[in-house]
């Protein structure tokens, strides 16, 4: 099976978020970048499926040169080769176009990614890629079993889940518990250095959105502590101060 996994290069979940250049740029200072946690689930499941079918696994990132350590980590986890589209991922439509262009060349059975990135949280790219390629798309997928040319998926819905029968190829946005995150071992890290990482230029520069400014939320006031024997005081605050009851 021939699998494409699209990964994002995003700030670690514990990062402090700040902006520079008059609130028009993300402040990368001191920020650790990681493979998007949802993408990491997609990658882990893809490694399992590749191993089970003796297929090939390609990772794709749309990003500038500073994303390469993150791509190498995906190679260390088990991808066979990587493609980087050399451009800043400024807009979901732009990213979807790059993915679709790579996918059209590769004849993939599966195109996987996280349900959303954790920087822009759009969760829109899987649907766009599916539509651009004329393939079905599903998200958020929490279980994926492949049997020949067919797949059984479990998709989370509000208050539960649904089981779907689909045929390959398709696009899926993944989330836990589709697979356990994989940690690269020493052999993986060593071999990742020599695996191919091809850099290509974007094929289409259309964007449909642009960010004019970033804004931080208002800071919260101090917490009011209430004695555990005085729950009535909490009820009073919820009713008369917060007015949420």
């Amino acid at each position: 099976m021939n699998i494409l996994v699209c990964i994002t290069h995003v700030p670690d979940t514990t990062s402090r978020i700040a902006f520079t250049e008059n609130d028009t740029q993300f402040d990368k200072n001191g920020v650790q970048f990681i493979i998007g946690p949802y993408d990491d689930y997609a990658l882990a499941r893809a490694v399992e499926l590749r191993d089970a079918t003796a297929g090939k696994l390609t990772v794709l990132n749309v990003g500038e040169a500073d994303t390469e350590p993150t791509i190498r980590k995906a190679l260390a986890i088990g991808a066979d080769e990587a493609v980087r589209v050399n451009a800043f991922p400024s807009d979901s439509f732009f990213v979807a176009n790059q993915i679709a262009a790579v996918a059209k060349e590769g004849n993939y059975d599966l195109i996987l990614m996280g349900r959303e990135s954790i920087d822009f949280n759009g969760g829109m790219v899987h649907g766009m890629v599916g539509e651009l390629l004329g393939l079905p798309s599903f998200s958020p997928v929490m279980k994926m079993d492949i049997d020949g040319g067919n797949a059984t998926l479990s998709r989370e819905i509000e208050g539960g889940k649904e089981t779907l029968e689909v045929s390959l190829p398709f696009v899926a946005g993944c989330q836990e518990p589709i697979a356990e995150w994989k940690i690269p071992n020493m052999r993986g890290i060593m071999s990742a250095r020599s695996k191919p990482l091809n850099v290509i230029e974007p094929t289409d520069n259309t964007v449909k959105t642009s960010v004019s400014a970033y804004v931080l939320p208002d800071t919260k006031g101090a917490v009011k502590m209430i004695e555990k024997d005085n729950v009535a005081a909490l009820v009073d605050l919820l009713k008369n101060e917060a007015k949420v009851l």
């Binding site: 649907g127 798309s137 819905i157 931080l216 939320p217 009713k239």
Partner: protein, 317 residues
């Protein structure tokens, strides 16, 4: 401006989040709502309460379950048919899967997680939540057609409008759109849906085991709240994944979030930071969650919760 609002129903009723989406649309233009699958006309007419003048209803039974490809196709057809400039939906598990496809079909610019009404003084700019609630971006939608998926509480719910006229919408459905089959659906019935809930009561490892969830459920029931949980609780299968609130789970935006026995790891806070008010109950006074809370009680959940439930019952009676 001509606005189409995609609305979802749940157990035959229009979801509250869809009513918020209609309210959002009504604040910027004339709203036509679109409903898919079999729903009663009387129920759809109530979309007028929130500001819709008309409801298009594609009542084909094939659309009763939320199939991603046909839904995207019907929504795009409806946008075309009513010459809509803007499509608005509430962010949901279904809408998230659909709107990217609709954007490609229609050439629209798309923004999701939108938290406020657009600023149209210079173009069309929306404020959207990014970095899992830790910041906002003002995003300009630079195409003639626009799609907006709104977060909960993006606008106050508009009520007291009239009755919307319900018209049949003859969608052009082709068999090729129905290549996917839903073979089973597992869903808790009658429960308040977590992403829709105005009040959420969540439990963490401090509850010690799934057998102790009764005190969380009692409090939730008293408040008409949904129940949630932390990641460890869902990982240990004490509670199902669709109740997991946090960075890799559901992001909630209720008016009131009550966290019981949850320490407040940054990944959990990422799922709750859009809540208006947060109450933390934890026996460890050093729990980091207190720093993110509005109200806090240091105490044992098994002691505090039954008392709180009783006090609320009296107060709400």
């Amino acid at each position: 401006m001509s606005i189409l609002v995609f609305i979802e129903t749940e157990e035959g009723k229009i979801k509250k989040s869809s009513r918020e989406a209609i309210s959002y649309g009504a604040a910027i233009g004339e709203v036509t709502a679109l409903a898919l699958g079999e729903v009663s006309t009387d129920e759809l007419a109530t979309a007028g309460q929130n500001g819709a003048t008309k409801v298009l209803h594609a009542a084909d039974a094939k659309l009763n379950s939320g199939l991603i490809q046909p839904y995207a196709e019907v929504i795009a057809q409806a946008m075309e048919s009513c010459a809509a400039d803007i499509l608005i939906t509430a962010k949901s598990s279904l809408a998230d899967a659909i709107v990217g496809r609709v954007a490609v079909k229609t050439g629209a610019a798309l923004a999701s997680n939108v938290a406020a009404l657009p600023d149209t003084s210079n173009g069309f700019v929306v404020k959207r939540s990014i970095y899992t609630g830790k910041a906002f971006a003002n995003v300009s939608l630079d195409a003639d057609k626009k799609i907006i998926a709104i977060k909960k509480n993006a606008v106050p719910l508009k009520e007291g409008g009239g009755v919307a006229a319900v018209e049949a919408f003859a969608a052009n459905l082709e068999d090729s759109m129905f290549g996917t089959t839903i073979t089973a659906t597992e869903k808790a019935e009658g429960d308040v849906l977590l992403p829709e809930a105005d009040i959420v009561v969540s439990g963490g490892r401090g509850l010690k085991g799934p057998e102790n969830w009764g005190i969380i459920e009692d409090l939730a029931k008293t408040l008409g709240a949904a129940t949630g949980c932390s990641k460890p609780v869902s990982d240990m299968d004490w509670r199902p994944h669709h109740e997991h609130v946090g960075q890799t789970g559901i992001k909630v935006a209720p008016s009131l979030y009550i966290a019981v026995g949850i320490s407040g790891a940054i990944q959990h806070l990422a799922g709750v930071n859009s809540s208006k008010y947060i109450v933390v109950i934890n026996k460890d006074e050093e729990a980091p969650f207190f720093k993110a809370a509005d109200y806090g009680i240091v105490g044992d959940a098994f002691e505090v919760l039954p008392k709180l439930t009783e006090a609320l019952k009296t107060a709400l009676a």
